[in-house]
């Protein structure tokens, strides 16, 4: 399966092995650049040259760091001819392309894979909105004009919100900022059963979206997996 989105793009690319092992190959013309998360590069042709560094100055770098991304963003440039660079995310899952046209996309931490010239990536402080979630406290904000590629753990579902929609905070990959959102406790949990469902339900914290826009959701999440593996950890020796 290859990429199927209908969006324009500034860079020639192909996404293969979807949805379990999404892999992004980017074709760079001579002199063209792409910026990627460290360790995202899987392979490249000899004309591709990598330069590691902080991009966008100290403030933006700090924002990204708060967003759970690395300080460093690697720049890949095609020199002395065209080049191909292949990027792979850290988790088995999907990769999607989105074309920004002077609008804004918000991304969950760890979801950003690569972007082209013209895109600005910064951290976005959520304040009390994300206070309880432990994640989503800071989202990454992608704006400007260009291509951005993001990744997931598991497959990615695209949901067109026209009214209201609820997503468990761990499963949010990205969403358009035309949507309003707030982190909340599930409605019925408060009304019908007071606090109990909040503790027992395991689904206490959700993000409630309203308005119009697209949301991308992943079908697996890292936190539940970590909770699953926890009982298998060795116990501390108290002697």
């Amino acid at each position: 399966m290859s990429t199927a989105d209908q969006m324009p793009s500034d860079v020639q690319f192909e996404i293969t092995q979807r949805p379990d092992f999404g892999l992004l190959s980017v074709q760079l013309a001579d002199g063209q650049q792409i910026f990627a998360e460290p360790a995202a590069m899987a392979s490249m042709t000899p004309n591709a040259h990598m330069k590691a560094g902080m991009k966008g100055g100290f403030k933006k770098t700090l924002g990204r760091m708060l967003g759970g991304e690395s300080l460093i963003i690697n720049t890949f440039t095609a020199q002395q001819g065209a080049a191909e660079v292949t990027f792979a995310p850290g988790t088995p899952g999907d990769v999607l392309h989105y074309h920004l046209d002077q609008n804004t996309l918000l991304l969950q931490r760890g979801a950003f894979l690569a972007y082209t010239d013209g895109v600005e990536l910064t951290g976005k402080w959520q304040g009390a909105k994300g206070f309880f979630s432990g994640e989503g406290l800071v989202l990454l904000k992608a704006s400007g004009a260009g291509d951005i590629f993001f990744n997931s753990y598991g497959a990615i579902l695209e949901v067109d919100v026209t009214d209201e929609f609820i997503v468990d905070t761990s499963y949010i990959v990205a969403f358009e900022d035309t949507l309003d959102y707030r982190v909340t406790i599930l409605e019925g949990m408060k009304v019908s059963s007071k606090i109990k469902s909040f503790f027992f339900g395991g689904e206490g914290l959700v993000c409630k979206f309203s308005g119009q826009g697209k949301i991308w959701i992943q079908t697996r999440a890292v936190n539940p997996f970590l909770s699953w593996i926890y009982p298998f950890r060795p116990t501390k020796n108290n002697n």
Partner: protein
């Protein structure tokens, strides 16, 4: 109730559409996303016996409880997305006045017309007391959804069939079973990497999973920092 199983077989997700007033009972933590016109209520089932919510509270951290979330559509045209924790598949197995014995972690969701009984002890308590392995007895009529670690394969047992306990997803109650060892001697069985197996007999459907969750946990666990 309409359903659709998407992104099979590794990143599988279940989408269920509910009409106003319809309910779905789900494994706690399985909800990924949903429409906004739903309410949720949580109840508990004590593993190996009946239990109320207050008893559930006391046992909360001991892993002796099994919690269920009941989602009910308050408005028309509501949808819910459910997914398991591990990489694997989801299957649909409707029950028509029948009973299916399901490995606790493999039960994903069911119609409220199906009674989910976590007190089933057909295999005996001691044998599976570790590793949070327990069994739920699903009986009644309605839709039932199961999930696996890895792929699911179906076996129509007619006669005898042996499965490693960690690879069982579910089986029909029409099957007889007994716990045994894979080899002739107990030591030989353990040295061969095969622990306790379940020997089925008779006629009925059996669902197996390609991967064994406790084996995977035991492979990763020792590499992690002690808790």
């Amino acid at each position: 109730m309409q359903h659709e199983i998407q992104a099979r077989p590794a990143a599988t997700v279940l989408k269920v559409d509910l009409e106003q007033g319809e309910s779905l009972t789900c494994e706690v933590g399985a909800m990924i996303a949903m429409s906004s016109g739903m309410t949720v209520e949580t109840t508990s089932r004590q593993k190996g016996g009946k239990g109320g919510l207050m008893k559930g509270l006391k046992r909360m951290f001991s892993g002796e409880n099994f919690f269920l979330n009941h989602f009910t559509a308050q408005n028309p045209d509501q949808s819910i997305y459910l997914g398991p924790t591990l990489m694997g598949d989801v299957i649909y197995h409707p029950l028509d006045n029948a009973t299916l014995i399901v490995q606790g972690a493999s039960w994903l969701a069911s119609d409220p017309g199906i009674e989910v009984d976590a007190s089933w002890q057909g295999f005996g308590k001691a044998l599976f007391s570790g590793e949070s392995m327990f069994w739920v007895k699903c009986s009644g009529t309605g839709d039932l959804f199961l999930n696996s670690f890895g792929a699911i394969y179906e076996v129509d047992v007619d006669g005898q069939y042996t499965v490693d306990s960690g690879h069982i997803v579910a089986f029909e109650e029409t099957l007889q079973f007994k716990i045994g060892k894979a080899g002739k001697s107990l030591i030989g069985s353990f040295l061969g990497g095969e622990g306790l197996v379940c020997k089925f007999e008779g006629q009925g459907k059996l669902y197996c999973q390609s991967h064994n969750p406790p084996s995977f946990g035991k492979l990763l666990g020792p590499q992690l920092r002690p808790r």
